[in-house]
């Protein structure tokens, strides 16, 4: 468990560094904990999402066609 969390912190650090963002060690450990939380929460979506479900779309097609004119 400790290893997993350390590995995740390393991945986070590498990814954010790639984006040009440099979090402190303290922040990295908090990010690692909270990202785990996000991933855990997202598992609950399996209760309600069928394989065919599309994402919620809030862009109205008529507007998009107007913009193409």
């Amino acid at each position: 468990m400790v290893h997993e969390s350390e590995d995740l912190a390393k991945v986070i650090k590498a990814y954010l560094t790639l984006l040009g963002i440099h979090p402190s060690d303290e922040m990295l450990s908090k990010l690692s904990r909270d990202l785990n939380g996000v991933l855990k929460i997202s598992k609950a979506f399996n209760d309600v999402v069928s394989h065919e479900e599309e994402p919620a779309i809030f862009f109205f097609s008529k507007v998009e066609s107007d913009e193409k004119k």
Binding site: L16, I21, L35, I41, S42, D47, V48, E53, F60, V63
Partner: protein, 470 residues
């Protein structure tokens, strides 16, 4: 009408007084500006005041009305705007030093529409940093203080607008609402806060927090005032591809709707509780009054509020991070530590998780509307607690310790993810003299029914705006 009443009159009263010549737009605007000068050092509600341009706009309105060119009930009415709306040639900070020099080149659509209706803008109001939070304790501008108790927060993120409206520093204000940012401060400050159906009001020229959750909100002291503002700003906007081709919203539809014996759904205790004792008591008392008038109140069968909140959390994290990524890279030190952390976390959310949240959201909207089939409205308290103390982080409710954010946002946030119209109205005062809010929610594009129900609620319960002791 006494001069001392001017800061507190409704837009309806002000408009009638302007038409009859009893009050002029210049007098009304001067009264709002005097009030700002007297109270802003105490409340910290405004971050900028447009004294000169407001007087010019009011003078112009007065001349037009005298010349018989009355534009409607907003002509000459002093309003404020959350400092997240673009106003041409003025600074829009969104509550952050990152934008301290950002001068908008155009008016937001909602601002332009109010301007065309003759409104006068007296200034821009304080907010939570980038509207990302619900306390309005802004690290750059300082906290906004609650007009009912200066040791308490206003709630946010439209807290400056709520304090300004409650304290008579303008007649109404525009805010935004991504998880409750209009309804929460309205509840905590004892005024009305309304979030329309997603897509009814354009967000063009409003700095985004999370595109698919953001709504323009209205903060006012009466339902009619909310309705007249909505009539002015609602409708399709070619500059905002999320606006819908709905029928134009009209105040007369609110006034003409039959709202007796409405069917009201109440979410299960697992969603509502824990509630602070006074909040629960005032909420259930109000419902009893509605029932006595023939409204039918029953339990709502919807078991997925936790899922809806999870969707909103993930969508908010991800969309906000996408918007802020460049600034975060260039100037991380200009964000508060808390916001910097949330934005970094948002950058880490995998695309699959974001899309799954949006897919779940679609299924949850469908499920919620199915549960709402038997009802006209849903009702619940707006927040679980009255205004917390400034700096307070945890609150004990019935033996359960809750974070302030959760205690404030949990009952409002689902209706952003579900894109439904929702309103917070005064519901009485707690024993320690703080306002409590009651929230009602209706179906998509039933904003007129919601406002008609809110009007009836006001009449039946007698719960209306009260002046804070300032």
């Amino acid at each position: 009408m006494r001069k001392s009443d001017l800061p507190y009159i409704s837009i309806k009263e002000a408009s009638e007084a302007i038409r009859s010549g009893e009050v002029s737009p210049v007098e009304l605007t001067a009264s709002a500006i005097d009030r700002i000068k007297r109270l802003n050092d105490v409340l910290n509600a405004y971050v900028s005041v447009f004294e000169q341009s407001a007087v010019e706009e009011a003078t112009k309105a007065e001349a037009e009305i005298r010349a018989g060119k009355w534009l409607g009930p907003l002509h000459g009415i002093p309003l404020s705007l959350k400092d997240i709306f673009y106003v041409k040639d003025t600074i829009t900070t969104a509550g952050s030093p990152i934008l301290k020099d950002f001068r908008a080149e155009y008016d937001a659509t909602a601002v332009r529409r109010l301007r065309e209706a003759g409104a006068v803008f007296v200034g821009k109001t304080n907010l939570h940093e980038f509207a990302y939070g619900v306390t309005n304790v802004n690290p750059y501008f300082g906290p906004t203080k609650n007009p009912w108790n200066l040791d308490r927060i206003t709630g946010g993120s439209s807290g400056g607008s709520a304090a300004a409206v409650a304290a008579g520093m303008c007649l109404a204000s525009l805010g935004t609402d991504t998880g409750g940012s209009t309804r929460i401060p309205a509840a905590l400050c004892g005024i009305i806060g309304f979030k329309p159906t997603y897509g009814l009001v354009s967000k063009h020229g409003v700095l985004p927090l999370a595109w698919s959750l953001d709504h323009v909100g209205i903060l006012a002291r009466s339902i009619w005032d909310v309705s007249i503002l909505l009539e002015a700003i609602a409708g399709y906007d070619p500059m905002d591809s999320t606006t819908a081709f709905s029928k134009p919203f009209e105040v007369k539809r609110v006034e003409g709707l039959e709202v007796k014996k409405l069917r009201v759904g109440i979410p299960a205790d697992e969603f509502l509780e824990p509630l602070q004792e006074d909040v629960g008591k005032l909420f259930w008392n109000s419902l009893e009054k509605l029932e006595a008038e023939g409204w039918q109140v029953h339990k709502l069968d919807f078991r997925y509020f936790e899922h809806v909140s999870a969707c909103r959390y993930i969508v908010l994290l991800t969309e906000a991070a996408s918007f802020h990524a460049d600034w975060l890279r260039r100037s991380p030190e200009l964000y508060s530590e808390e916001l910097r952390h949330r934005l970094m976390l948002g950058l880490l959310v995998p695309s699959d998780v974001y899309l799954k949240a949006q897919r779940a959201r679609k299924a949850l909207v469908r499920e919620f509307l199915r549960a709402m089939k038997e009802f006209d409205l849903i009702a619940c308290p707006t927040t679980r607690v009255t205004a917390p103390r400034i700096g307070e982080e945890k609150i004990l409710i019935k033996g359960t310790e809750l974070g302030v954010r959760l205690a404030l946002v949990r009952l409002t946030e689902p209706f952003n993810a579900l894109a439904l119209p929702a309103i917070s109205m005064p519901c009485g005062m707690s024993k320690d003299g703080l306002p409590v809010g009651l929230q009602m929610v209706s179906k998509p594009f039933s904003d007129d029914l919601l406002l008609a129900a809110a009007l009836a609620y006001e009449e039946i319960t007698g719960n209306r705006y009260k002046r804070p002791p300032l």
